[in-house]
Symmetry: C2
Amino acid sequence: MQPICWKNRKLTLLDQRLLPAREAWVTCETPAAVAAAIRDMVVRGAPAIGIAAAFGLALSALSGRNPEADAGELLASRPTAVNLKWAVDRMLRVWRDSGSPDQMEREAVAILEEDVALNRKIGAFGADLFDRPVTLLTHCNAGALATGGYGTALGVVRALHERGLVRHVFADETRPYLQGARLTAFELADAGIPHSVITDNAAGHFMSRGDIDAVIVGADRIARNGDTANKIGTLMVAICAQRYGIPFYVAAP
Amino acid sequence: MQPICWKNRKLTLLDQRLLPAREAWVTCETPAAVAAAIRDMVVRGAPAIGIAAAFGLALSALSGRNPEADAGELLASRPTAVNLKWAVDRMLRVWRDSGSPDQMEREAVAILEEDVALNRKIGAFGADLFDRPVTLLTHCNAGALATGGYGTALGVVRALHERGLVRHVFADETRPYLQGARLTAFELADAGIPHSVITDNAAGHFMSRGDIDAVIVGADRIARNGDTANKIGTLMVAICAQRYGIPFYVAAP
């Protein structure tokens, strides 16, 4: 499952607003179209946003525009996702060094491919945390759909599932936008991983019953001191996990 | 605002499934109709359910049926609400002692009137907890709509508002059934009390910012040791309130 495709110098994005009911793709041929797709949540998830923005700047260079002039609109399209600024900065460095549209295209593809490779490593490292079948809780969507592919928090779940160590996954529905109910459940079903969608406010109940072995979430950004910014509700899940002595993991590159 | 009306020996219930979009009333002339109304959530809230069931048994006696035979269906209509069993037991005692349909009607009316009086007392006692303007958080609906009138947790809010001490109320939307977004917000708007509806998972955020002075909720039942059963999500709110040192009050008769 890969939400971001680059082919024939066009960017196609899986329209995540329509999932799971419908799989439709949005084609972006300009940096403005990419910025709109980020703003309108066609694409979401911090890593995926960064990758999309990188292709936005590649499109800028390939069409003879000035990536430095187009960076602003992309940066403003979702200020919370740290990957956005990181990817834009990286692309602008390449532009300043090379001035080459081909080089810009290669760099964006590299950012996408590195992300998937990083996620697979996160998955393997995360899966090593567990040596017996576990029931996990996750919040929002930190899966293939939030990244270049495979996923961060769901990458760990995927890797664990490959090892036969996932008993069950509880997916918080994640109000108000329902990324858990719509996207995480879609990915888990697609991967054949047993799961239940629960209301966000039910997570504490399952923790109190001893049903959750660990919590694993993604992150929009992580500060040097470990402070983590993530989807609304992550704080309450973390506080309740602490209350019940349940390990809480943040999976991010 | 009173969700349960008894007039001309008929019970009319405000259909809470349609609020806030529409105010429609359901008329019940048999105990089976009352049981169905409880089961289908026309009426909800522990105190309101108990009152409705009492009128269900009054209807049984008034129509020449046997309240003892009709009690079972009412008791099964919502096993979690302690008031249901309490009200049914009280009505059956009156039936056994008097065998009088008129007495049954008077007893049901007394249960309704006592509930409203109790709520006003809860409101006054609860309001005494605060001596300056406060911002409160509530979960689900423990208002006039959940009771005979006035409300338990919202009774405290109403009494505080009468004293000019409500700065703001945050109402958890209360998934999955949205009693907070639909019913609590409706009551607060009706009473002119400043409020915001928030997603359940945002309560911790506002607590962490110091925006919440106290939490106040109702209860389905309270054990002798203080353990409290209430709507899903109450546990997470309580744990987060404890984490941030925010007083957490349960208002119930």
